[in-house]
């Protein structure tokens, strides 16, 4: 596929690099230094110029491209890039936006602004946060098959029920599949007799109910309370979206924002949230407001350092669970090592969304595991697929070894995948695929 990426900022560069391996990527940026850096350090064609001008886009081959990704830091520019690209050809246009207003318009009328896919980094990140805080002990949660299936990653704590047991013993749930273990940062495919150790991370795929039930056994050392009390620190776009999503679930989160004018804006936009204008690194304030009794603190300021500090302070005053936003992907592991429960990288969410569209039309949904060591994919199978028409026990022999069938949905019903389950055309199959098995799997299913 030929893909034009306009705007080589952090997100744009990340997308371009992750796509460059499998696709022909052209990057357009206004900054000559960025363009030089790209030309020398990566295997992509970098062009200097204004992405909203016809001539630049023509030079980048946007007319013939399969996809144009607009990911500059300016919403209006991204919309203009997509609109301009549409005048040149038939490419699939993707725009990254921050503004919730544009996203609302686009959701109400898809194709608005000449954008075929609108991706809001902040909203995607907030959705990630809300899914993670919704399940105790979860590190990552992604929905598949319109929410019938969930993929979740958990950290096994020393006191947990499943620590020290084999996978067979731990797998007490009918509609749950153990897809993988992550041990010391490496993905391991589990067998029935694999012993789960404290410190491992487990990736499970199943119905939301079974995932929730499993999360409770994993997190058995922690007691869950009736009313979930969430505190969001930082009133940027991510903080705003997180509060809004929590409100939509009927919760009343608290949001701490230091600047009083921004706090007022947020309070006006979020009727169900208690907004407080204060510095969240003030320990007296945290203690005085009883933040220590919160179920989770979400540090979502625009500075990684501050998020780390807030998370550690929160932990110190007694908060059970801390979630921090980390812009710099490399810090994520470090954050989790020093005591932040979950570090969420906004760029990963965006990359998942955009990479999903480069896998061709068959991948309905996608989630990245441990960087890109593995992917969880949702595929609608057709007549030609190796899975179709036979029991899974037989079809897995024709697939590479790093593949696990996690879940199947048939006519919007969950089907438990067992060895003798026969896959029918039209079924949605959620697969766990290790990175090295990815190419082989995509051809056959």
């Amino acid at each position: 596929m030929r893909i034009v990426v306009v705007g080589a900022g952090e997100v744009g560069a990340n997308i371009a690099v992750s796509l460059a391996a499998d696709h022909e990527v052209v990057v357009v940026d206004v900054d000559p230094e960025t363009v030089d850096e790209f030309t020398y350090s990566t295997d992509v064609l970098a062009i200097e110029g204004n992405g909203t001008s016809r001539s630049t886009l023509q030079a980048a081959g946007a007319g013939e491209a399969d996809m144009v990704v607009a990911s500059t830091d300016d919403d209006e520019t991204n919309l203009a890039v997509c609109g301009t690209a549409k005048t040149l050809g038939e490419s699939f246009t993707v725009a990254r936006v921050r503004s919730a207003t544009f996203l609302e318009t686009w959701t109400a009328s898809e194709g608005a602004f000449g954008v075929d896919l609108m991706v809001s980094t902040d909203l995607l990140t907030a959705q990630d946060v809300v899914r993670v805080v919704g399940l105790p002990a979860a590190l990552d949660v992604d929905p598949f098959a319109s929410g019938l299936v969930q993929m979740a990653e958990f950290e096994v704590t020393p006191g947990s029920e499943v620590a020290g047991r084999t996978v067979r013993e731990a797998d007490r749930f009918e509609s749950l599949t153990f897809a993988a273990l992550v041990r010391n940062g490496t993905v391991v495919l589990p067998r029935g007799d694999t012993v789960i150790e404290a410190g491992d991370r487990v990736v499970v795929i199943g119905t939301p109910e079974s995932v929730e039930a499993f999360s409770e056994t994993v997190a058995s050392t922690e007691t869950a309370t009736e009313a979930d009390d969430f505190v969001i620190v930082g009133g940027g776009a991510i903080g705003y979206h997180t509060a809004k999503l929590l409100e939509e679930r009927g919760l009343r989160p608290r949001l701490i924002e230091q600047r009083s004018d921004r706090a007022r804006e947020l309070a006006e936009a979020l009727p169900g949230t208690v907004v407080m204008a204060h510095n969240a690194t003030d320990v007296d304030f945290l203690v005085g407001e009883g933040i220590g009794r919160a179920d989770a603190v979400i540090a979502a300021t625009d500075s990684d350092e501050k998020n780390l500090l807030v998370s550690l302070l929160a932990r110190n005053v007694g908060v059970r669970r801390t979630v921090a936003i980390v812009e710099e992907g490399e810090y994520a592991g470090l954050f989790e090592a020093v005591g932040v429960d979950v570090a969420i990288n906004p760029r990963e969410a965006t990359a998942e969304e955009i990479v999903r569209f480069t896998q061709g039309g068959r991948v309905e949904n996608l989630s990245l595991v441990e960087g890109r060591q593995a992917e969880v994919l949702e595929i609608e199978v057709d007549e030609e697929s190796v899975l179709t028409g036979r029991p899974i026990r037989e079809s897995v022999r024709d697939l590479p070894s790093g593949v696990v069938v996690g879940a199947i949905t048939r006519r919007r019903e969950f089907v438990v995948p067992r060895g003798d389950t026969v896959v029918e055309p039209g079924d949605h199959v959620v697969l766990f695929v290790a990175a090295d098995a990815l190419a082989g799997t995509m051809d056959r299913v």
Binding site: P271, A277, E289
Partner: protein, 498 residues
């Protein structure tokens, strides 16, 4: 010292309004012609207002109305129309109304939709004069300047400014791009409601449920119901009519005190606006609460009313009549117990919804005061919390909240000062009234309700009050109707100086 206000523009536009006052005078003139009574009390004011109007219009050619001029114009217009409206009473020369102070009181009470009367013997006045009382109330109901904006092209630009000045609640919503069309829509709705009530009342007469309700009475009462004003050509007010009429009047008082913009949306089939309106629910809640309270008291005491229907009818009617600031009486509520009368007294301070024909403090302000105070209690416990006050989902900005607090406080101060004045001034002339009666009369005139208690009771008259008290009450009605601020602004030196 140079005067910063372009008073000529204000006066000129007052002239424009006066010049058209002959139109409403046609109604009593027609009644006089039909009845064969004297027409001079109406013909002379017609000539006079047209002449004065044209004279004022000669003052200047400029018509650009800014905020300063709007305050002056609004205040002067209501005063000028009240003075003009008093002339037919003086010229007719019958009964208590012949006395100029009484005539001005009656006219101001009419145009401000108060409904406090100085008439002692209703049968001494012609039907034409009694109709004129109803007509001026109807004109004042939705606001003279809303009417003026709707029909006078000179006010097409300044109209929004005027309508906003006339109703201090800052809720002038342009329903259409042109303000004159918006004003026109509101007036058509007002005329429609009035027409509907005439049809209902006269219909009851035709099917035999209301023997007393002639076409003349139907028109006169519709004029003073939808405008929530309360003059009646009958000495016994609505008590003169059958229970069916009393029940039929209630919904029209409630509608008259409902926000007309909401009513407009309801007519367009959009019921959600009404259902989602916090203020509407609060308004109905207030009516329900006081009705139940009054009914409970009347039941418990068993007098002066007996029977479920009678108690229910009088409690609903009186509470609605006082809360909406109409001021009709379905019974002599002055005979009620102290508990019931005090409940009605509290009702005087409520008022109906903002953007309607009602007066008093209005449910919008009380609701904002309550919500803001609840918010303040919350932030006392949680000082860093930022919590905006919301009304029907949208945020009320802090400046508006401050204005509403200030307005409510100033209203209460006005009421206290007025009460003291009434009590002291009446004792000066050895007219013995109780403090409660003084409070009632002060609240009833300042909040434009009409009847009060004791000598100002529903079947009594304000005539016995000394002239000085009546003049102060005339001032209170004027100030209360245009919501204090436009008049108070005129009294500040900085308004006049540059």
């Amino acid at each position: 010292m140079t005067v910063r206000v372009d008073w000529r523009v204000s006066c000129r536009l007052v002239g424009t309004v006066l010049r058209w006052l002959w139109v409403p005078l046609v109604v009593p003139l027609a009644v006089a012609l039909l009845d064969g009574t004297t027409v001079m009390p109406f013909v002379l004011p017609m000539v006079g207002t047209v002449a004065v109007g044209f004279g004022l219009e000669r003052l200047t050619d400029r018509t650009d109305l800014r905020a300063r001029e709007a305050f002056l114009m609004v205040s002067l217009t209501w005063l000028a129309v009240a003075v003009a409206g008093a002339t037919p009473f003086v010229l007719a020369g019958n009964g208590t109304l012949a006395e100029p102070v009484n005539a001005l009181f009656e006219s101001m009470s009419g145009i401000t939709t108060t409904g406090a009367t100085v008439v002692v013997a209703f049968d001494r006045h012609s039907r034409a004069i009694l109709m004129w009382r109803a007509v001026i109330q109807w004109l004042g109901g939705l606001g003279i300047l809303v009417l003026a904006t709707a029909v006078l092209s000179q006010l097409s630009v300044g109209g929004a400014q005027l309508m906003e000045t006339e109703t201090q609640t800052r809720d002038v919503q342009k329903l259409t791009p042109r303000i004159s069309e918006t004003a026109g829509l509101l007036w058509r709705l007002y005329i429609g409601l009035t027409g509907l009530q005439i049809a209902v009342l006269y219909g009851l007469h035709l099917i035999g449920l209301a023997p007393e309700m002639t076409l003349y009475d139907a028109v006169a009462h519709a004029f003073t119901t939808v405008s929530t004003s309360g003059f009646s050509p009958r000495a016994a007010s609505i008590a003169a009519f059958s229970p069916a009429v009393q029940w039929a009047v209630v919904p029209f008082m409630i509608l008259g005190a409902t926000n007309f913009v909401l009513l407009y949306f309801v007519l367009g089939g959009n019921l959600d606006r009404l259902r989602n309106s916090d203020e509407f629910r609060f308004y109905l809640g207030i009516l329900g609460f006081f009705t139940l309270a009054v009914a409970g008291v009347l039941f418990a005491e068993g007098a002066p009313h007996a029977g479920v229907e009678e108690v229910a009818r009088h409690s609903v009617f009186q509470v609605v009549s006082i809360v909406t600031t109409t001021g009709y009486a379905s019974t002599d509520f002055d005979l009620w117990s102290s508990a019931a009368k005090h409940l009605l007294f509290v009702c005087m301070f409520v008022g109906g919804m903002a953007g309607s024909t009602t007066c008093s403090i209005k449910t919008l302000r009380w609701l904002v005061v309550l919500k803001a105070f609840r918010r303040d209690l919350f932030t006392v416990a949680t000082p860093s919390a930022v919590r905006p006050v919301r009304l029907s989902g949208s945020v009320v900005d802090e400046e508006t909240i401050r204005d509403i607090y200030a307005y409510t406080l100033v209203s209460l101060v006005f009421f206290i000062v007025a009460t003291i004045f009434v009590a002291v001034d009446t004792s000066r002339v050895r007219l013995s009234i109780t403090e409660f009666e003084a409070m009632g009369a002060a609240a009833s005139t300042f909040f434009n309700v009409g009847p009060a208690f004791g000598i100002a009771g529903p079947f009594a008259s304000y005539e016995p009050f000394p002239r000085s008290t009546k003049l102060v009450m005339t001032f209170l009605m004027w100030v209360g109707r245009i919501e204090i601020i436009p008049v108070l602004v005129l009294l500040t030196p900085s308004y006049w100086r540059s």
